[in-house]
Symmetry: C2
Subunit: 217 residues, 2 copies
DNA sequence: CCATACATTAATGCATGCATTGTAAAATAC
DNA sequence: GTATTTTACAATGCATGCATTAATGTATGG
């Protein structure tokens, strides 16, 4: 495995773990020291991460880890809403055999269990799985790539927002409705239900972020 | 201006101009020679272009310019459809002053003129302008970035498809309907009209690509 | 004659060093 | 004391060179 890829992974971890907090600046040389390699592979990794919107290379000022404002989060949620809803619609009309939908249902079941147990981490993991599986079933590779990228950004915010908002006990009813629509081949229903669900979730998240003045995440 | 950015621009031009045809492979060293700079900035530009989905770095085989299959084009159109329709909806409810909508209407007028004159290039340019302006009015920066990226890929295909399909004389009626809905603040109408318009356009393009067996673009 | 193993070649991954340039600090003038 | 100019420093952009490694061709054995 190449050093560039190692640097890419490590830097992502460091960003998500908060070792490189949003808004902070870091010099290429320092990062290379920390990662124990030369500047070249680090620089290459940084260019990729810049393309993914996680940071910005600012000559002579170091790389700036980009903060996510409530308005950014609203933009991201809007993109996710549309692309996931499209995926739900396509998943419903793609003619997937019932067995292909099992992972989706499993994710919903796991969310129910996590809610019953009050386990935020488990819920969060199962929710990720649900959305990822939904998009996979949609069958559009570009949608998957975009959603993956945006989900990364949301994940940075969720660690904070999860603790600040009520456990989403009701949201799983929506997930189940979407699942049933997909299973029954009702594309329009699947898409519209998911869109409504997501637009509602967006309101809640953005509200939380604004109330707590969480400008930096 | 940095060599990396120059390389980025030049390589893009070369791809769109067909100097680097889809499916072809090129060595870093050769590209560096052609661009009259060292491998480092070329390599950095190539990494960015890889992130944008225009090519793939294949160790020991050179960079491969990615072809776009009809199925790829279908995927891209689906993404554009959803994100542009969202933009139309948001543009309608954003409370833009009428003056802000002038460029949009101008683009539509120019398309009418181009159709009347049978000028394919002028129509293509005005159509680009319409879509770009629509997304700008939608006010979501991430949507703009994604649409820009995907539009690049469509542009590679259009040079071919434009000559193969009938002049889209009817499509401008749809554009005008979308414009009116935005002007009148009817978000739902704007979004749904644009979505229907785009889904129709997708069918035509994908049909053309498949009929002509245009696997590589 | 075919398959497998080895050798050769060349492209890439990466380290390193240097020139450029932006920034900040210091000094000078007002 | 403040503002402006100059100077010095240091981070980056990029060229270069080397080691690694994969692909191709060759040779040998079955």
């Amino acid at each position: 495995m190449s050093n560039t890829l190692r640097a890419l992974g490590k830097l992502r971890e460091m960003i998500f773990a908060g070792d490189l907090p949003a808004g902070s600046n870091h010099l290429e040389t320092e990062l290379a020291m920390q990662l124990n390699m030369s500047r070249t592979p680090v620089r290459e990794a940084l260019l990729m991460l810049e393309g993914q919107g996680l940071l910005k290379l600012q000559p002579r000022k170091g790389v700036r880890i980009l903060p996510i404002s409530p308005s950014d989060m609203a933009d991201i949620y809007d993109v996710l809403t549309e692309l996931e809803s499209l995926s739900a619609e396509r998943a419903a009309t793609a003619g997937h055999p019932p067995s292909a939908l099992a992972p989706l249902e499993a994710a919903i079941d796991d969310m129910d269990k996590a809610i019953a147990a009050g386990d935020l981490d488990a819920w969060s993991e199962a929710d990720d799985r649900f959305h990822k599986e939904l998009v996979r079933l949609g069958g559009n590779g570009r949608v998957q790539a975009i959603v993956d990228m945006m989900s990364d950004q949301v994940r940075r915010a969720r660690a904070i927002t999860l603790a600040l908002r009520p456990l989403p006990t009701k949201s799983n009813e929506d997930h189940r409705k979407v699942f049933q629509a997909i299973r029954d081949g009702h594309g329009d229903v699947a898409g519209q239900t998911h869109r409504a669900h997501r637009r509602h979730a967006k309101e809640i998240i953005v509200d939380v972020l604004e109330k707590h003045r969480l400008r930096f995440i």
